[in-house]
Symmetry: C2
Subunit: 160 residues, 2 copies
């Protein structure tokens, strides 16, 4: 059951998309994934990539991944946002998630980031316990606000 | 009481930092701002800027700003994150906040963003009402998780 962590490459993106869909399913939003493999390739491997990714490989299979990108806090300065940390369900309990998480945090420290940040579902107690045990803090009083493409179009059209 | 909205320039960053500190104070975190004017200049006006900013100018004064940067959603693709939308307290009620918000959303649509996103404090009812009225959604079950520089260092040191 050995695995290795390495930087993600274009050839991994089909497997990465599968992992993204598996996570959306776990988060009870099976239809939420609107991107495809070509979006991952286009935005992750251009001259100005939108994200960076490490994958966990076991024999020839991609069994996990961590995907992240820079943000800028007007309080703390440069930070990294962990967008997704995913391990294929049947490969959990082998330390793959911890290894990906550690790789991400080591990378953040090497890049002299002042903060790392992500979001968690409030009912995902296992994840919350894990994050808190590693020194992360859950902010209780902040809420995420989103405006989707349709609402954006509607607002811009009618604003006057 | 006329104002104009324009792109922020290096010369505005001293005023922008003042606005950032005013917001931190409102959010009951007066000591949270660790960056200085030079961080704003360095990270906002390099060849690979970490953020983009529009300011509201009234006569010679900067009285408001909106600061944002790209993110990447593994569900929706490219998005923009609104980090701060601030209007100086004594200039509220003149439509400056709405104008900055609109400018940001117009920019997002022009850039073909699939989503815009930000966070709000759960007790800031005025802000929440405003956002919802404009078509944004408050996600009730997601929580922000943060690991600061010290916790990051501690984790990386002791992980094994």
């Amino acid at each position: 059951m050995e695995f290795k962590i390495r930087e993600g490459e274009i050839k991994d993106m089909a497997s990465v998309l599968e992992l993204i869909k598996e996570l959306a399913n776990f988060e009870k939003e099976p239809d939420a994934v609107e991107i495809d493999m070509y979006d991952l390739i286009k935005h992750g491997f251009s001259s100005k990539p939108s994200f960076k990714i490490f994958v966990a490989q076991m024999k020839d299979d991609i069994v996990g991944m961590v995907l992240f990108y820079p943000r800028f806090s007007t309080w703390k300065g440069q930070s990294l946002h962990l967008e997704d940390l995913i391990v294929r369900e049947e490969k959990r309990g082998l330390g793959i998630g911890k290894a990906l998480y550690t790789k991400f945090l080591e990378y953040a420290q090497k890049q002299k980031m002042n903060r790392v940040e992500w979001v968690v579902l409030d009912w995902n107690k296992n994840a919350i316990d894990f994050y808190e045990k590693t020194g992360a803090k859950i902010l209780k009083d902040w809420r995420t606000v989103q405006m989707d493409k349709e609402a954006l179009k509607e607002f811009v059209k009618n604003k006057k």
